[in-house]
Symmetry: C2
Subunit: 109 residues, 2 copies
Amino acid sequence: MGATKTDHFTDKQNAIAILLKALAHPARVAIIEHLLKVKSCICGDIVKELPLAQPTVSQHLRELKNAGIIKGNIEGNAVCYCIDEKTIDKLQFYFANILIESSNNNQCC
Amino acid sequence: MGATKTDHFTDKQNAIAILLKALAHPARVAIIEHLLKVKSCICGDIVKELPLAQPTVSQHLRELKNAGIIKGNIEGNAVCYCIDEKTIDKLQFYFANILIESSNNNQCC
DNA sequence: TTTTTATATTGCAATATTACGATGAAAGGT
DNA sequence: ACCTTTCATCGTAATATTGCAATATAAAAA
């Protein structure tokens, strides 16, 4: 025990959980917000912005990329990261849908 | 090491991360989806729906409640849970905002 | 070619999460 | 009073995550 029982849930449920888990860390939220702030792709300056060591930032970037939240392009010496809007759109849609379905319910608490 | 360096991030970043972490597990996603499906509050039948033992489900429900994603009312012998729409609205707004800000950016990847 | 710059990977210690059996608490039914 | 039902809590084992020093890699600059 200790491992999530992924097999017992639907693919969609696991997919959403993986996306949310990728963003469920303040450092990774900060990375996304920095990407928005600089209004362009980031190439390395994230390490200077975050209060974390370079390997830690690199690890967080990899997790965001694996989940499909950001995209990364090798640009010569540096690497260029930016937000994958398609994935954020999925999340926005997911929560918007919960709100729609939820408003039809007869709330009791 | 091992613990998230919460102190180094803003309150907003931590707050979003906590909300997303609460939903970053397929069992908790499944709980929310069941709440939507039954179109009412759930009073105990979640344990039968999920492939997890009762203490595990109870623990997941507590995490969702602590994060403010669901509300819970004691109803005699049973407990009645339902979605807190205000919190889902926060999340929906957060992602919608990312999309708006992101569309102003000159994407390079 | 050597050095520098930028990022990734490895290995590991500290901590957190997940899952569940056992047990507890509290209300309802008999 | 006694049992049953419903849910929470405790304790604990298995596993995952976080963070970083050390090291590797790979392209640019000198």
